[in-house]
């Protein structure tokens, strides 16, 4: 009997079907994966045991009867953390827990965006944001970055130009605190300029602060949300980078006017309660000491990656060391096509994120790539970068052999 044919029933404009999962590459520098050794397993076990013993029966009720904004103790923890670290004055009632911060992107987009709308984003950007905007048929204007993040002078020019043309963008999306992929941190004076532009043009700021806990120097600037006095900022955060990405728990902070709309759109019957319970129980006593320890380990891995790139690529790999986070944004010589490099490298067991998938500017990002250094071990970083250099040399003639030779001599 012929199998049922779904094809004629499918909507048009769907993304390409998924391929079968074949596992991670041997040397995986992709995604936002973190250091397995840094997962606080024993403390999470203790937290799970304590909170289940105390409140496990509440799992019989959707959302633990804490309402659609999520588990109250987790929101209480966040309110105090965001006040202490980010200068935000959010109360628990201003916070909603999400099934990962990606759900926040989807909810905000559902509330604000229609095909043909315009949004402003940093030119080099998080792929998950760019693909969402593309699928929605939204016009995405990339604002160039410098060492201090999104350039507000360029933003001002674009906003003025759009206003002249009668276009009011729906939001300015920014990752101001450890930008993805560039690793920059926007200083407070530039945050103030951005807020001034937001108010002047009536365009809200969508602040994605997912990496804000992972800063080498420890102290972070105030969140844009915390500096705002006009309420036009939607703030997004996550535990994926600070505790563990496979836990799907993010959060959003926003005025009730927009929060109430997002809550009406969140029709998932609540985010996973056990993960919220365990996180709250874990974070209250441990978060403040866990994060600096995690960050030290990440910084050491960045050191290893930079050494490996210097050794294997020499001057062929250009980069500015990030001020925190888990990514290095690397520029290779112009002849390197990063899309082709990523495919060739994958065949040799090395996965990388090619620049064009992380940018609004195809030419600018053509020879760039994003390397996650948190997930592979120090040895995997060294070995993986050595293979990547070999593949790059074979495909594009760079780095020159000499870089490698220097490395060999130095190692003897």
């Amino acid at each position: 009997m012929a199998a049922f044919d779904f094809a004629p029933l499918l909507n048009s404009g769907l993304p390409a079907p998924a391929a079968r999962w074949t596992g991670l590459a041997k040397y995986s520098f992709v995604g936002g994966n973190n250091d397995p050794g840094a997962v606080p397993v024993d403390a999470l076990r203790a937290a799970a045991d304590a909170v289940l013993a105390r409140e496990g029966r509440a799992l019989a009720t959707y959302g633990l009867a804490h309402g659609p904004q999520g588990y109250r103790p987790l929101r209480d923890f966040l309110a105090s953390k965001l006040s202490r670290d980010a200068g935000m004055s959010a109360r628990a009632d201003d916070i909603m827990i999400l099934s990962g911060s990606l759900q926040g992107l989807d909810l905000v987009n559902q509330a604000l965006l229609t095909r043909g709308d315009t949004v402003l984003v940093e030119q080099d950007n998080y792929q998950g944001t760019l693909t969402r905007l593309a699928r929605l048929g939204v016009k995405t204007i990339g604002i160039p970055l410098d060492g201090d993040g999104m350039r507000t002078d360029a933003l001002a020019t674009v906003l003025a130009d759009l206003k002249d043309r009668g276009i009011r963008p729906k939001y300015i999306y920014t990752i101001p605190t450890v930008q993805n992929p560039t690793g920059t941190i926007m200083p407070e004076n530039r945050r103030a300029e951005l807020l001034w532009l937001s108010r002047a043009y009536g365009v809200p700021v969508f602040e994605d602060d997912c990496y804000a806990d992972l800063i080498w120097e420890g102290r972070r600037p105030r969140a844009i949300h915390g500096m705002s006095d006009h309420g036009g900022v939607i703030h997004l955060g996550s535990f994926s980078k600070s505790v563990a990405p496979a836990l799907r728990v993010g959060f959003l902070v926003a005025p009730w006017e927009i929060m109430s709309v997002l809550l009406a759109l969140k029709t998932d019957a609540g985010s996973g309660a056990l993960e919220q319970m365990v996180l709250a129980e874990y974070c209250k006593p441990h978060f403040a000491t866990h994060v600096p320890q995690l960050v030290r380990g990440l910084r050491a891995k960045l050191g290893t990656l930079i050494e490996a790139l210097d050794a294997e690529f020499g001057t062929a790999a250009e980069f500015v060391p990030p001020k925190g986070g888990i990514f290095l944004w690397v520029k290779l010589p112009d002849q390197v096509d990063a899309m082709k490099l990523s495919q060739a490298a994958l065949k040799r067991g090395v996965s990388i994120n090619p620049g064009p998938e992380w940018s609004t500017d195809a030419a600018h990002s053509r020879s760039r790539l994003r390397l996650c250094f948190a997930s592979p071990s120090h040895q995997e970083i060294r070995d993986g970068i050595a293979v990547l250099a070999e593949v790059c040399r074979h495909e594009f003639g760079v780095p020159l052999r000499s870089a490698n030779v220097e490395h060999s001599s130095a190692g003897e």
Copy 2:
């Protein structure tokens, strides 16, 4: 300074903004909440501890590196459970784990439905399905039910009529095993008829089997998916009813042709891993003994609810006892407007689901209501139904006082 005004930026056609959460009613008969006493807290604690100790470090990687279909041991458990209980021959590769079965509704709808499309559903139905279809602008045709679930004779008539008019519905959505809200179970011969119609008209079956574990008699009919030989069935299930609703873990079984499309649409970076891990660890040794125990408790609560309705409403409350599940679907006299009753009852601390929110037929459901008996205690069921009867009498003159007097005498 004036607060930022989001209103001009919002999309049109959004649902009404959420109201502030004010907690559950004192006597809550709404939603799919379950019995707090039946949550297997100690076994979940042991499962959490064991699986975190063994695999906790994997939380550093999105999806535990098990791929977008979810935690492999949970899919292995499901493959064996579905084979044993539901006669399905799904392998782990045919199963995707969801963040609750609602995500399955959203993914399937995203893949198949466009404004103006037609779908067929059971006339009395799950509210979450009906509101989703309404928001998508889909034409939803309700097929009448009898004691054996969706009437396939009526389905055949509707399909033939639609075909005459050149309309091919996108799917037939059914809850065949403990239908929500009527509590019926479709026998296998009718399932075979439904499959015959599905093939004859080229319309896939979307089988929502969320309540299928909760059956008084234990044995369930084979799933429609298990009886199909043409692959035109998408099967949906959940742990919300069998273990705990606040855990957001559901699953979907479908041929790769449609599964691969749904996976491409699932852009949430994986469903919560800790909940999947704990469930797999718990279910493998405990599921088969936990469920009959849970079911015995639910059936006892149904007994209490039926006694309370008989005592307080007498003949004014008509119903057919369900064959399983957590709901009773009650018909009150025609003068009762269930929407008004639900509002008046809420003021007295009793929450109920009014029929019109659970049906495609406003007239048929006007005086009906759905009562969840799993969540309140036996005493809360008795007290809540007494208050509901009082409110109903005050608002609509039924039940007559005599029913209550009989109850009082009987109780002395």
